[in-house]
């Protein structure tokens, strides 16, 4: 579904990504794990074309999206849930969700109501807090709101940037359960995580990113038992 070939990104003189190849298939959960500064977020940003690429080609559903404007990439069905939630703090939960539909111009008023029902079914807690300000939610609820906001545009591929960041372990578990539920809805998920243990458990396949290069790839289970991964990322 999504193919990345030989992607390189530079920040000034520093190269953040060097020749990354990545493949995401329809209906899969793919996870990208790695330490701080490995280039995980950079990979997502370059898929959404929010930063400039030095080299490489990205195709989505067979179409070249390497140089496409961000809003057109969203229209093609890629949704990017940015790191650190970045919900709109002084808009209400409902308004936050409506803002999620802005990017997909194909959505009509009637679709919107249907999207709301679908999203509220996944996140019942957001329905309760519909009128509350986004900024007044707890961290976990904000993360749910950020994911829900992304789902509002009915994407085919949803890219999650560290959804477990700064959340209590029990909430993290809840978020990962939701990610599995979203997969059951037929969405493809590209998940970026520092919490490698959790991410690999839910993922179909995973990639390990070290200082801008992919060093390992395989199914989630394979990586979980890989001695190198266990030592470096699982602390065992």
């Amino acid at each position: 579904m999504l193919d990345i070939e030989n992607l390189s990104v530079n920040y000034g003189y520093v190269s953040a990504l060097r020749g990354v190849d990545l493949h995401v298939g329809q209906g899969e959960i793919i996870t990208l794990i790695g330490g701080n500064g490995a280039g995980k977020t950079t990979t997502l940003m370059s898929i959404s074309n929010l930063i400039e690429k030095a080299e490489g080609r990205i195709t989505f559903k067979g179409k070249d999206i390497t140089g496409m404007a961000p809003h057109r990439i969203v229209k093609m069905g890629i949704c990017h849930v940015p790191e650190g939630r970045r919900i709109f703090p002084s808009l209400s939960v409902r308004e936050n969700l409506v803002a999620g539909t802005v990017g997909n111009t194909a959505l009509k008023k009637a679709d919107q109501a249907r999207r709301f029902e679908e999203v509220y079914a996944l996140f019942p807690r957001l329905r309760e807090r519909m009128q509350q300000n986004g900024g007044s939610l707890s961290g976990g609820e904000q993360q749910m709101l950020a994911i829900a906001r992304g789902l509002m545009m009915d994407p085919d591929l949803i890219m999650l940037d560290e959804p477990s960041l700064g959340l209590a372990p029990i909430i993290v578990e809840e978020i990962f359960e939701l990610i599995l539920k979203i997969k059951q809805k037929g969405k493809t998920i590209l998940l970026i995580e520092q919490n490698a243990g959790m991410a690999l458990q839910v993922a179909d396949r995973g990639y390990v990113l070290v200082t801008g290069q992919i060093t390992l790839g395989g199914t989630g289970k394979e990586l979980l038992v890989n001695p190198e991964v266990r030592r470096a990322y699982l602390g065992m």
Partner: protein, 342 residues
């Protein structure tokens, strides 16, 4: 934390709102018949005009989080466009009025395009300079604008053969324009476009990741605000019959900005209330002439201190410091940050 001004407004049942709206409309329509004093009509005309000006500035500053303090420039363009078209080409007011708005919107696009990447104070400085440039062009382009003498004898509008001359007639024109502005803006703010503007105000990067084409929406936002400022200017020119460049100085821009701040940024009602208050104050304080500017300054300082979100508690505004509270740490900064606090 729990007392929310929004909820107060939202808790009023719909029929009360409708009834209140109808009563207010009837009162405003009947006012000139009951109390046709030309002084009062003049003040009301100004209030309505500033409602459009402050309201349109609020669309830019309050809804998309851009920071424009050169709104007088767009106002100036609208007024001069109408005056020149009416005196030199003899165009009817009803044609020149929208053209004034369109002209201001085009110049708005011209200002917005190179400044799309600027935000906060930097954008404010550019708009400040722009406003002065417009004023200086009007002052020095003698062939077109009459230079320091200005444009005199701007013809009165004709409404189906009826010549609009007295302020009581203009009252209805300004009332209709203000009502139109209110209605159209209400619709726009609650549309896809309005959501896009607000998402840009809240977090530009998040908006982009959701597929909001920020450059396009920021430019249209600027154009929309400029358009209505131009309309206000174009309606003002024949009303005053005479315009000169010094009417559109920076002070005028700050005057409009103060209405927005006092009323409440990011609310539809705020600038309307701000316009009423500031214009009434102007009238009450006439006896102390230029010292009234001191009163404005004190008022703004007091507002920043006591009610940074403006009189009409800005429900959607980043200025509504208390609502977000100390948790996100935005509260304290929020007070003086129409710049978006970035």
């Amino acid at each position: 934390m729990t007392s929310k001004p929004v909820n107060f407004f939202k808790s009023i049942p719909l029929w009360v709102k409708v009834l209140g709206g109808v009563a207010l409309a009837a009162l405003l329509i009947a006012l000139p018949i009951v109390y046709p004093k030309s002084y009062v009509m003049g003040v009301m005309c100004r209030i309505f005009m500033y409602m459009i000006l402050a309201g349109s500035l609020n669309v830019i500053n309050g809804y998309s989080g851009q920071f424009n303090i050169g709104h007088a420039g767009f106002y100036c363009i609208g007024a001069y466009t109408e005056a020149i078209l009416a005196t030199k080409l003899g165009l009817s007011f009803w044609i020149a009025l929208p053209l004034g708005g369109v002209m201001a919107a085009l110049i708005g696009l011209l200002v917005a395009t190179p400044t799309l990447k600027l935000r906060g104070t930097y954008l404010a400085i550019v708009t400040l300079g722009f406003s002065e440039i417009i004023r200086l062009v009007a002052l020095n382009w003698e062939g077109l604008t009459g230079g320091p003498i200005g444009i005199k004898g701007i013809p009165a509008p004709v409404f189906f053969g009826f010549k609009v001359t007295r302020s009581i007639h203009y009252y209805y024109i300004f009332l209709a324009l203000a009502a139109l502005f209110f209605f159209v803006t209400y619709r726009v703010i609650n549309s896809r476009v309005g959501r896009a503007w607000m998402s840009i105000r809240e977090d530009e990067l998040a908006a982009r990741s959701l597929g909001v084409e920020t450059r396009f929406y920021k430019a249209t936002n600027f154009m929309y605000g400029a358009f209505w400022a131009g309309i206000a200017g174009a309606a003002f020119a024949p009303y005053f019959k005479f315009i000169a460049s010094d009417m559109f100085s920076l002070d005028e821009g700050f005057n409009i900005l103060s209405m927005v701040i006092i009323g409440g940024q990011g609310t539809l009602l705020g600038p309307m209330v701000g316009s009423v208050i500031v214009n009434f104050l102007t009238e009450f304080l006439r006896p102390i002439s230029q010292y009234r500017l001191v009163v404005y300054a004190l008022l703004i300082i007091a507002m920043m201190w006591l009610r940074p979100q403006g009189l009409v508690g800005a429900s959607n505004s980043i200025l509504a410091a208390k609502k977000i509270g100390g948790k996100t740490g935005r509260g304290k900064r929020g007070a003086l940050a129409p710049a978006g606090g970035k």
